[in-house]
C-alpha cells in the first residue's frame, strides 16, 4: 500500500510520487473540481554558484506540528476540501523533488490561493534547514522569502 494514505503531513527521506498524492486527495470528495500542486525541486544555481548537492535537516515533531498547523489553517481559511504537505530531508540531488503541496478545492481560485499561501508559510514557520554543497564547500542557507 502507498504511503500516501498514511498521513497528509509527512517529513521523509524517500521520494514521493505526485500522481499517488493527487489520487489520494481525490478520494476525499467527489466534489473536487480543481487541484493545485506546488513542487519544489533542487536548482543547480544559487546566487550565481553551482550547487552539486542539497541536504535538509529538520526539528523532528516540531516540523510536523507546524505543517499540520499550516494544513488546518489552509482548509479553514481558504475553504478548500483538503491539503497534503510532504517535505523531504537528507541528501537531495539537483532536479530531485524537495517539497510537495497539494491543495484540492471545489474550484480553482481557493486552491491556488491556499497552495501559494501554504508554501510561503512553510518557509516562514517550519523548522527545516538547508545545507548547500558547492565547489567552495558546504554552507547552511538562510531563507529567501
Amino acid at each position: 500500500m502507498s504511503t500516501a494514505l498514511e498521513s497528509k503531513i509527512r517529513i521523509q527521506r524517500e521520494d514521493f510520487v505526485v500522481t499517488d498524492e493527487i489520487e489520494a486527495i481525490k478520494k476525499v470528495s467527489r466534489n473536487i473540481g480543481g487541484i493545485v500542486t506546488f513542487l519544489g525541486t533542487g536548482r543547480e544555481l544559487s546566487k550565481g554558484e553551482n550547487i552539486t548537492q542539497l541536504n535538509f535537516e529538520h526539528y523532528p515533531k516540531m516540523a510536523e506540528k507546524k505543517l499540520e498547523e499550516i494544513r488546518e489553517k489552509a482548509i479553514q481559511d481558504y475553504k478548500i476540501i483538503d491539503m497534503i504537505i510532504i517535505h523531504r530531508i537528507g541528501e537531495i540531488d539537483i532536479g530531485e523533488n524537495i517539497v510537495l503541496i497539494v491543495a484540492a478545492g471545489e474550484h480553482r481560485k481557493e486552491a491556488f490561493v491556499a497552495c501559494e499561501w501554504a508554501i510561503a508559510e512553510l518557509k516562514r514557520i517550519t523548522p527545516i534547514w538547508k545545507r548547500e554543497t558547492t565547489s567552495n564547500g558546504e554552507v547552511w542557507v538562510q531563507a529567501t522569502p
Binding site: 535538509f56 523548522p127 527545516i128
Partner: protein, 84 residues
C-alpha cells in the same frame, strides 16, 4: 533537567546536538542563556538576548516565557525550505 537542542549551523558552533542543564524548577531564557554560555559564549548570548528564534516545547518562546524542569528548548536559526 532542561534539554537544549542545537540545529543546522548552531550544531557546528556548539560542537554537539544538545545539552542538558539543571536549573531548578523554573527558570528564564536569560538564566538559561548564562548556562548555555558555558558551552559557547556565542550561543549563550543568542539565548540570553533572543537573537534567534527559540522554542520551548515546540512553541516559539517570548521574552517572558518561563522554562520548567523537563522542558525541551531549541535554538532555531533562520529556516530555509529550498530556494523556490
Amino acid at each position: 533537567m532542561i534539554t537544549v537542542k542545537y540545529f543546522a549551523s548552531l550544531k557546528g558552533i556548539a560542537g554537539k546536538e544538545e545539552d542538558r542543564f539543571d536549573l531548578g524548577g523554573e527558570t528564564t531564557l536569560k538564566k538559561l542563556g548564562e548556562a548555555v554560555a558555558k558551552t559557547s559564549p556565542v550561543l549563550g548570548e543568542m539565548v540570553r538576548d533572543r537573537k534567534i528564534m527559540i522554542s520551548v516545547n515546540m512553541d516559539v518562546a517570548g521574552d517572558d516565557t518561563i522554562i520548567h524542569d523537563g522542558d525541551e528548548v531549541a535554538l532555531l536559526p533562520p529556516f530555509s525550505g529550498g530556494s523556490f
